[in-house]
Symmetry: C2
Subunit: 237 residues, 2 copies
DNA sequence: TGCACATTAGCCATTTCTGGTGAGGACAAT
DNA sequence: ATTGTCCTCACCAGAAATGGCTAATGTGCA
């Protein structure tokens, strides 16, 4: 089975188009013997790539009703680091419970696992498996495959990055230390006056840093600059 | 060897203190038969955790001279997704070349590999191995262990998260759809007028969303609110 | 040496944001 | 049935940010 995984990862790496990748990924259903495979990624440009082996009805319904706004799987994806079983989420509230029933009806299994993956420029992707089985069986499944799920998530993200040429779009924006400081303090909620005080420079000087950072980042205003710097990992909150 | 890796990952998971983790990680030198192991992570609070098996002289020199500002390994860490060999970086520029020679002198090997890992709240960590050998040997080493390096990076990050109680600090703030929209558009660089236009509501209404979002997030101003929402994964750029 | 860039500092006019207060309707939960 | 939350709209005064100017110093690179 180990070799099967290696073979799969290699196949992912060798995909030359997204269509081809779709097919390879869908093949995971057979490898893992599960009902569905879902993969979606959001890059910084905002154009998402999504793949799911769900019925079209459910996919359309989901999209049309903007169910991602209440889907606990999606909502917690951005908060998690480790792969998480869908059972570990809170399905208490009414909208979530209704969503769960709708999903069951739409062919989604009662069990699932999601692997969140983060890339350098605020890219985010979520790789999920869904299945129908008992809690016990699913726990065993997860314990067995956790590491492999992580690797698959990583390789899929890498493949999408490559196929969408995200790698090369990396405009190497480097901020000067002072510019970084300025954005960090503003992102922490200080106004210019207090930030300048904190850095022991005049407010006028601070403005120069903000503006040069804005210029470098191609940002329209301070908020935009801070947001971009955060998303690009240039500063941390 | 596979089982050795599993055993290692398990040991990482069972660490109860950072000191213990240090020891376990240092043990990687024996497992991989390399000169040095380096791990550092930056969380959202800004207090970093760092571990390196380097000589103290080099570590102090590095810290004192703020060499991370010119270290290509660190600089490119924020741009990369896949593990990268240090040889693949650009050592052309003068400061980088000078740094490389200093590092060799400081006991760092001529080869290295780094694995960047990103967590949910802008956390970032870098797990690296350094060794002294030929390019060929190092290529073979990397091809052999790539997947394991990824897994180790992930598990280390997870362990540090747990030991620093980052997981639990997640106060689950939920924004309404409109609040989310508002912050997202502001984070994308729009001013209130255009954002309101985009959402087809009056600017006055938009302000209400911004302010209620500010209140919920405990933010001092719009920039702070957008930054917090981004850091908490409530919006995406 | 000259060029680029980081760092520091200031002024003025205009635009934008913030704080405080108020109000009505829709919808869901208890 | 009432409480709560969300969505919508409005005014006003004061605070803050922005755009457009100039200009000194020091450092590093070509």
């Amino acid at each position: 089975m180990q070799s099967q995984m290696e073979a799969f990862l290699e196949r992912v790496e060798q995909c030359k188009t997204l269509v081809e990748l779709n097919q390879v990924v869908a093949g995971l259903r057979d490898i893992f013997q599960v009902n569905h495979v879902i993969y979606h990624s959001v890059n910084s440009e905002g154009d998402p790539y999504a793949l799911a082996t769900y019925d079209e009805d459910w996919a359309e319904h989901y999209e049309k009703e903007e169910l991602y706004r209440i889907d606990p799987v999606v909502l917690s994806a951005f908060q998690r680091f480790n792969p998480y079983s869908w059972k570990s989420l809170s399905w208490e509230k009414k909208p979530a419970r209704r969503f769960f029933l709708e999903a069951l009806d739409g062919g989604v299994g009662n069990q699932g696992v999601s692997v969140p993956i983060r890339g350098p420029h605020g890219e985010f992707s979520l790789f999920s498996l869904s299945h129908t089985c008992s809690d016990e069986e699913w726990s065993k499944f997860l314990a067995n495959w956790m590491s492999d799920l992580l690797l698959i998530g990583h390789y899929l993200h890498a493949a999408v990055r490559t196929l969408e040429n995200i790698e090369e779009e990396t405009e190497y924006v480097s901020l000067s230390p002072r510019e970084t400081d300025a954005l960090r303090l503003l992102g922490a909620g200080m106004n210019r006056g207090r930030a300048a005080e904190h850095l022991k420079i005049s407010e006028h000087t601070l403005r120069v840093y903000i503006e040069s950072a804005r210029f470098k980042l191609g940002a329209a205003n301070t908020t935009h600059a801070v947001a971009k710097a955060l998303a690009q990992g240039l500063i941390h909150l």
